[in-house]
C-alpha cells in the first residue's frame, strides 16, 4: 500500500516540491497528510451524497448552487452563516478540548441548553432593575458556570468512578433538556406567551448587539478569540502539555505525578463552559428567551466539526463556517428542492461516517513519510 500516487493530486502545491534538505518543507509534507486525508474524505462523502440525490431524482448541482446561495453567495447569507457558525465553533471546542486529554465527550448539546437556560433564568429578576451591561455580564458567568459544571460532572465521573464519559455526557444532555423543559413549562413560564412555553423575553435593551458594520452578533468574534486562546492553552502552556501527555498515555502521566484528575475535570469544565457560552449567545443574541428551540442540534453538529478539524481549535473556525453555511442554507434547500429538513442531517452523518473510515488511511502513503524511520501516526 505504499504508493503516493493516488493522493498526490490533493496535496498542496508547496508540498509537491522536491524537498531535499529543507526541514521545513519535509515537515510540511509530512503534516499535509492531516489536510489531504480529511479533504479526501469530504470529497468522497460529497460524491456519495451526490449519488444519493441522483437516486432520489434530485439534482446535486442544484444542491450545491443552493448551499452556495443560501450560505455563502451574498453578503446577507454569508453573515447569516457566520452567525450560525458561532455556536458551532463553541460546541466543537467543547468536543476538541476533552479529546486532547483522550475523552470522547458528546455532551455539548446539554451544556448549551442548560447554559442558555441559566442565562435566561438569572436575567428574569434583573430585567428593568439592573443595567443591561451588568445583567449580560452575570448571564455570561451563569451560562459558563452551569455549562462547565454539567460537562464537568461527566469528567469527574470518568476520573473518580471510571464511568464511560461518552455515554454519561449524552445522558446528561437528555437530563439537561428535561430540566430546562421542567422550568420553562413550569415556574419560569412566561404566562403572556401562550404559543410556546418560554421564559420571559429579555427585551431589546438587554440583548447582545452586532459587531459594528456587520449583521453578525458578538458570539462569532468571541468564538474565534476563544478558539485562538484555547489553541495557545493546549499547545503552548504547561497545562496543555500535561493534558496532552495524559491523553497520550494515561499511565505515564500518572507515573510522572501529573494531577490527572484535576486535568481531566478542568478540560471537561472548559468544554462545558464553551458550550454554555454558546447557549448564552443563542439566548441573548438570537432567541431573546429560553425555550425548546435551544436544543437545535448545534451540539451534535459540533461533534462532527471537531472531528473534521482533528480537534485542532484553530482549524475548527473554518470548518465551523463551512457547516454554518450548510445549516444556514437548509431552509432554502428545503423550500426550493422540496427536500425534507433532515437532508442536512443525512449529509452530516455521511460525512462523519466517511471521515472516520478515512482514519484507516493514515500512514499508508510513502509520500507523507519523506523522513525515513520517523513514524508519524
Amino acid at each position: 500500500m505504499s504508493t503516493g500516487a493516488p493522493t498526490a493530486s490533493e496535496v498542496p502545491a508547496v508540498a509537491m516540491k522536491p524537498a531535499a534538505g529543507s526541514d521545513f518543507a519535509l515537515r510540511l509534507r509530512a503534516n499535509s497528510e492531516y489536510v489531504a486525508i480529511p479533504a479526501f474524505a469530504l470529497l468522497m462523502a460529497a460524491l456519495l451524497f451526490a449519488l444519493f440525490l441522483l437516486a432520489i431524482g434530485k439534482s446535486p448541482i442544484d444542491f450545491v448552487a443552493y448551499v452556495w446561495r443560501g450560505g455563502f453567495g451574498t453578503a446577507f447569507s454569508f453573515q447569516n452563516t457566520l452567525q450560525r457558525s458561532s455556536p458551532l465553533i463553541l460546541t466543537a471546542l467543547a468536543v476538541a478540548i476533552p479529546a486532547r486529554i483522550g475523552l470522547i465527550m458528546i455532551g455539548a448539546e446539554g451544556a448549551l441548553v442548560l447554559g442558555g437556560f441559566a442565562a435566561a433564568a438569572i436575567a428574569v429578576p434583573m430585567i428593568g432593575v439592573a443595567p443591561p451591561f451588568l445583567t449580560l455580564a452575570i448571564m455570561v458567568v451563569a451560562a459558563i458556570a452551569v455549562g462547565g459544571l454539567w460537562v464537568g460532572i461527566a469528567g469527574y465521573l470518568r476520573y473518580a468512578r471510571g464511568v464511560n464519559e461518552t455515554i454519561a455526557s449524552l445522558l446528561l444532555t437528555y437530563i439537561g433538556i428535561a430540566i430546562m423543559n421542567f422550568f420553562v413549562e413550569g415556574v419560569l413560564r412566561d404566562a403572556s406567551n401562550p404559543n410556546k412555553p418560554s421564559t420571559k423575553p429579555l427585551g431589546d435593551a438587554y440583548m447582545v448587539g452586532k459587531i459594528p458594520g456587520t449583521d453578525v452578533h458578538w458570539g462569532f468574534a468571541v468564538g474565534v478569540l476563544l478558539a485562538i486562546a484555547l489553541y495557545i492553552l493546549m499547545t503552548r502552556t504547561t497545562f496543555g502539555f500535561a493534558a496532552r501527555v495524559t491523553g497520550g498515555n494515561f499511565r505515564a502521566a500518572l507515573a510522572q505525578g501529573l494531577p490527572v484528575g484535576k486535568l481531566i475535570v478542568s478540560c471537561a469544565m472548559i468544554a462545558g463552559g464553551c458550550a454554555g457560552l454558546a447557549g448564552f449567545f443563542e439566548v441573548a443574541a438570537i432567541q431573546g428567551r429560553a425555550n425548546a428551540s435551544l436544543a437545535a442540534g448545534y451540539g451534535f453538529t459540533g461533534i462532527l466539526v471537531s472531528f473534521l478539524a482533528r480537534h485542532n481549535p484553530l482549524v475548527i473556525v473554518p470548518v465551523a463556517i463551512l457547516f454554518g453555511g450548510l445549516v444556514a442554507s437548509g431552509g432554502l434547500i428545503q423550500r426550493r428542492m422540496d427536500l425534507p429538513d433532515a437532508t442536512v442531517l443525512v449529509l452530516q452523518g455521511l460525512i462523519f461516517v466517511v471521515l472516520l473510515t478515512s482514519e484507516t488511511l493514515y500512514g499508508r502513503f510513502a509520500f507523507f513519510k519523506p523522513i525515513k524511520g520517523r513514524d508519524r501516526t
Binding site: 468512578r161 464511560n164 428535561a178 442531517l345 452530516q348 452523518g349 472516520l356 484507516t360
Partner: protein
Amino acid sequence: MNDGLATVLIAMLGGAIRVSTPFMFVALGECLTEKSGRVNLGLEGTLVLGAMVAYAASYHTGSPWAGVFAAGVAGSALGAMHGSICKLPKVNDVAVGIAMMLFGTGVAFFFGKPYIQPTAPRLPSLPLGGWSDSSSLKSALDVNPLFFVGIVIAIVMAWALRNTRWGLVVRTVGDSAAAARAMGISVDLVRFLTTTVGGFLAGVGGAFLSLSYPGSWNQGLSSGQGLMAVALVIFARWNPMRCVIAALLFGGAGAIGPALQSVGITQGYYFFNAAPYILTLVIMIATSSAKRSARDMPGELSMAR
C-alpha cells in the same frame, strides 16, 4: 388514597412491560456485539431507523409483521456498515458509533417525513388480562407478543453463549483476539456478524416503538432509549438474562411519569420523564470503578481501557 396507589402500581406494571420491550431488544443486540469485543454506540440511530422502516413497511404492505422484519433488515444493514468500517485498522468503534447514531437518525427523518401523518396497522397484542374485572389491570396486561419473543431470544442467547461452539467462538473473540486468531478464528468476521445480528435486534426494538407503544411514527419517538440500553448492558454484566431484568427495571422507571399522570398527578412530569436517564447514570456510577474494570467485562472491549 390506597386506590390511587394501586392504580399507579398497576399502570407502572403495564408500563414496565410496554416500555421495557425496546430496551430489551437493543440491550440484547448490544450484549451480543459487546460479547465479541466491540462496542456499537450507534444503536440509538438503529432504533430510530427501525421504527421508521417498520412503520413504512406496515403502512405499505398492511402487515405489521412485515414491518418488524423490514426493521430488522434495516437494522442489520446499519450493523453491517458499523461492522465493516470498524474492521479497518486504526478506526475507533466508539466514534464510528456516534457517527452511525447521527447517520441512522438522519436517514430515518429523511425518509420518514411522509409517514408522520398516515396511520399504519399496528401489532396486535395478547389480552392476558381477560380473567380480571379491573379495566386498568386488563389494559396493563395487554402484552405485545414481541415482549415474549424478546425473552425467548434472551434465553436462547444465554444458553447458546454458554453451551454451543458458536457461543465459545464469540466469547473467545471478545476476551482475547490473539487467542481466537491462534485458534484459526477470523476475529473480524465474527465481530462483523455479531454487530449485524445486534443491529437486527435493535431494529426490531424500533419496530416495537412505532408499531406497538407509543405506536406511531414521529421524530421525537426515541429520545435516548438506544443509548440507555447500551449503558444497561454494562449494568447487566454482559448476561442476556440480566439484560431482561435490567430492561424491566428501566421500563418501570420510564413508566413512573405516565402512571402518575393517569391518576392526575402532573406535577414534576418532566422530572419523571428524566427518571430513566438519571437512573441510568446512577447505575453507571454504582457499577463502575476507577480502580478495576467492570466484572465479567469482555477483555477486548475498547471501553475497558
